[in-house]
Symmetry: D2
Subunit: 356 residues, 4 copies
Amino acid sequence: MVAVIPEPNTPVEVREVAEPDLEPNSALLEVEVSEVCGTDVYLQQGRLAGVPYPLVPGHVSVGRLQKIRGELLDVEGRRFNEGDRITFLDVHRTCNACWYCLVAKAGTRCPQRKVYGITYGLEDGLCGGWSTHIYIKPGTRCIRLDAEPETFMAGGCALPTSLHAVERGDIKIGDTVLVLGSGPVGINAIVLALMRGALRVLCIGAPQARLDAAVEAGADAALNIETTDEAQRLQWVLDQTAGRGADVTIEATGAPEAVVQGMRFTRDAGTLVIVGQYTDHGSTSFNPHLDLNKKHLDIRGCWGSEFSHFYRAAQLAAQRSEAWTRMKLISYGLEQANEALADVSEGRVIKALIRP
Amino acid sequence: MVAVIPEPNTPVEVREVAEPDLEPNSALLEVEVSEVCGTDVYLQQGRLAGVPYPLVPGHVSVGRLQKIRGELLDVEGRRFNEGDRITFLDVHRTCNACWYCLVAKAGTRCPQRKVYGITYGLEDGLCGGWSTHIYIKPGTRCIRLDAEPETFMAGGCALPTSLHAVERGDIKIGDTVLVLGSGPVGINAIVLALMRGALRVLCIGAPQARLDAAVEAGADAALNIETTDEAQRLQWVLDQTAGRGADVTIEATGAPEAVVQGMRFTRDAGTLVIVGQYTDHGSTSFNPHLDLNKKHLDIRGCWGSEFSHFYRAAQLAAQRSEAWTRMKLISYGLEQANEALADVSEGRVIKALIRP
Amino acid sequence: MVAVIPEPNTPVEVREVAEPDLEPNSALLEVEVSEVCGTDVYLQQGRLAGVPYPLVPGHVSVGRLQKIRGELLDVEGRRFNEGDRITFLDVHRTCNACWYCLVAKAGTRCPQRKVYGITYGLEDGLCGGWSTHIYIKPGTRCIRLDAEPETFMAGGCALPTSLHAVERGDIKIGDTVLVLGSGPVGINAIVLALMRGALRVLCIGAPQARLDAAVEAGADAALNIETTDEAQRLQWVLDQTAGRGADVTIEATGAPEAVVQGMRFTRDAGTLVIVGQYTDHGSTSFNPHLDLNKKHLDIRGCWGSEFSHFYRAAQLAAQRSEAWTRMKLISYGLEQANEALADVSEGRVIKALIRP
Amino acid sequence: MVAVIPEPNTPVEVREVAEPDLEPNSALLEVEVSEVCGTDVYLQQGRLAGVPYPLVPGHVSVGRLQKIRGELLDVEGRRFNEGDRITFLDVHRTCNACWYCLVAKAGTRCPQRKVYGITYGLEDGLCGGWSTHIYIKPGTRCIRLDAEPETFMAGGCALPTSLHAVERGDIKIGDTVLVLGSGPVGINAIVLALMRGALRVLCIGAPQARLDAAVEAGADAALNIETTDEAQRLQWVLDQTAGRGADVTIEATGAPEAVVQGMRFTRDAGTLVIVGQYTDHGSTSFNPHLDLNKKHLDIRGCWGSEFSHFYRAAQLAAQRSEAWTRMKLISYGLEQANEALADVSEGRVIKALIRP
């Protein structure tokens, strides 16, 4: 049983599919829980390029290995056994053979990479998590999951994404970090910024329920974007930073103008990480002299995540779980996938899960 | 004798001034040569904030110490003597006591800094190089100049500025570097990028005479911005970089749209340094998804320069002088200062000098 | 009243001294609490070079400004008033004028620097904290203390020192950090490594009371050096790191052989910070092929600390105080200074304070 | 025809071998020229661990593709054709699946890696360059060679090795770099340090012919280790660095004591790269307080090299060839392999090549 987006802007359908044959060194995963994230909303709306429909969404999932053909090893070289609970990196086939992989060492820009639940469609096999089973292709990077599935999925795909962003932010112990956006990436960025040395974390976002979650996650102060204009937000940031602006700002909003506001909310010689512009929401305008050059600013785009982020995300969820056990989860069956998409799209839930 | 800008948008006047009294640990410098740079054009046009008129321009200068009162030491702790040929860092009074100096270690953003020939006006003393004499205030960072004055001034203020930019670019050995702009900062950036490991340097600028100078300085290829549109420029860059774009781009143009073009001309996961937006030329528009986030780009504003850049610039001019002896210089007397400004403003010269 | 070490290897004496005249922009501090650290033991034993006896020890102190002559500003430019509670950076006169300060930007290696309680002796004024009063010389970097004095002093001089070491360690989120040594620097390094992204922190040290304090500070596991040999320690580290060794090791022991063990306890391509060798304890032997080159190891010496570390230390103590309120402090009067030194020397206390 | 080391400490023999069958996506290379380097001397002496004898040495080679079975692509995705002149990275099978490859991103410490001519023996196929033909296994990283074979081989395996070391040294424009050792790695490090921003390069090595080659390669000054003791060498370095020591030192000697001398010859807060300790030459002694901690030194072990270094090395040899065309090469036939080893072992040649 799989939940399928047949084509852009059509509702998700539940279908029966045959169990796949296993190639050597592949496996069949029985899904316990998969994720509904903002990307899935975009997939349903047909807003991402290079997506082959019909598509089974769900790129981050947890389950148990039901069948293994051949040998499946973790990064420490230990064999997986049938029955093991695992998760796996959704990015597959980063080639380790192209200029981006080998010379630039920019794995997230490898042109060969394929992503379960996004750029692998139903034609490519059972490659999405909104399904009773996932086909684990040879070469998929699996991790033995020590965390509770719910704890790990509370972070979900937002956890490695925000971990990459926080890593790019290069926070110094004692910095004030400003997070723009209070969706899953923003909330995880708050948690991780605090783990990574921030003295104080500020959050600007909406709606109020998500800002409450941001404070719950550790933000020292939160401001609602719905009730303030840009000038008020700037003043709020300055008031809390001795008039200078944040040392490091992490933009996780999806709104182009937030990128420019991020420049203005960051102190001179500070750092701004852009991790909220995963889809084309159009253009915005800025003043290169005032907003960038004179400020001696660092702006760092942050695309995707690599195995290192995913691996460390799984370890954090297992060993420093407290932050994630506080996050509110709502589960849906495969038949409720359209409802889940609607709730995520409207920001009615912090984190939605599919339990097939 | 000094050349003075009495107020914005008035011609430079030559005036007689009295010789200053020397405070303890100050000196009087007899100027051999000073510089005319793009900033001086802006000063005459009143385009920079915080400038006290009347003003004697000329922030980078070379001369001989005519009188010393008290003790003047170089960074190695050696005393300067009367008759020594020196240059000095135009930035004075970086305070080493404020949050930017001590905590952020962002010396070029210290609010206390004063700049000879820019933010020190005639009221502050003989603080500009378009003058027979400069008053070297206590605490000014002086350097014994081993280079020929012309060689050092061929780099002029553009040399430490571009050195800072190249340092921010963090070029790897074998990189292809693209320089946008063929004025003094661009041409010095070409020289320094090659010294700093670039395999190939491309330049896009204008007019043709400056592009010829760019090639003379070591650029492997140059494109004239006057005869191409943005799409042609992009194609030209891609053609020379296996379709990827430059590894590192240094923007040194003064045109806001060049900042956005720089994003597009740089490869995914590459680096773009913004050092050409020293004055407010207005706003520009970009697409944060396509131009920044998806590209996983690093954009680094680069403001001013510090003593370390100036010190190393003086050493390069002395010990690796070849690049700078090739640059074309034109000298003007104090009485010709308005002519010099006009020639620089129109791009008729690569580098103009004042010989008082 | 001051406690003085008259000359090396003589007991501390309490003396009366006259109140100093204040230069412009100086102040008199009424001491509330000062510190007794391992350096003070070495001072009493005459083991540090460049120390002018008679000496008043106590380099990190907290007190209230009793008299101010002229103006005293903090890094944000706010005036201090009489009655304010402050602490101050023990390092004074880092010159901001020499090659190390200006070109290498290695402030802790500035040859001009003077340290209160270490390289300023009684001849230089009331420059040590084991005293009812300290003379705050012009240019001393003061910080308004928002933390409780005891909380801040629980970190004491070890806090900025270990903050510098942790900064040099460049921990990635999810790393396993090994701390060698369980004295004040080691224990603070444990706290800070956890704040700075470590997933797990291991500690090897002695005696047991200090290891208990290490676990209390957050170490996941601790090993007693008194009951294990090098091979057992190595095995213990490997057992807890999937056979690889620690990602980052911070050496804070004072024993030369710990430096070499640190190389062996760190994984290939990992990082080892050396912050425990502040005095000459002699030489040790290692194998450059096996211990360094083949391991592709980074070893980073870490000397002293700068204002940025001290400033952030004060903020951490105020705003993330929990870690430091757990540390055990024992206070001594000026008359008990010899007893305090003996207790520190023997490791009988975690942290000793002088309350004049 | 191959030249084989049958077992440690036996002379090289020339043997006939059958032409191998080609697996899919493999190839047969007709060797034009291969290298004799210090590692080959160690291989013949049995001093490296993990080497399977009988062994065909020669890890860096140039030749023409004689037969291709299936498809062979370069990193830009272009197909190789029979007749193309190529070189290839000697390191094979870096797994991109283990913790070191994926989490630590320390590819040169991947436990799966195999090296042509070193850890691939004759049993593994025609895997060494002292041979008329090399079997290019599937997954071998090949590069189309645009440089002249002699120019590229003048750098040989020392070029990517020293490029990695220079990269680790993180030279700033204007630095003084000291190279310890005047063998192929040292001489290439001189060339690359100058390309990477060094203002001056000093070299300490032996014998005189190699020091002459070091000066020819661009060293500003060279000192003979055979006629000086450690104190004289230290004084020589201080004399040329304003009494401070080198900003960056690259150790490329093979002598354990050079590692410690490197610490002493480097300025406080400078960087020392260790790339000369590829074999176990025993232990050495140092003082952690004086040589490391108080100096605030960075010491960076540097093991092996990755494709990025090899790729950029090939580009440098093609496009900035001048430095390498000056190096003296001596060629030997397969039958003269023992003579070549003896000449290399005795330092009688700068660079020896095998032409099968």
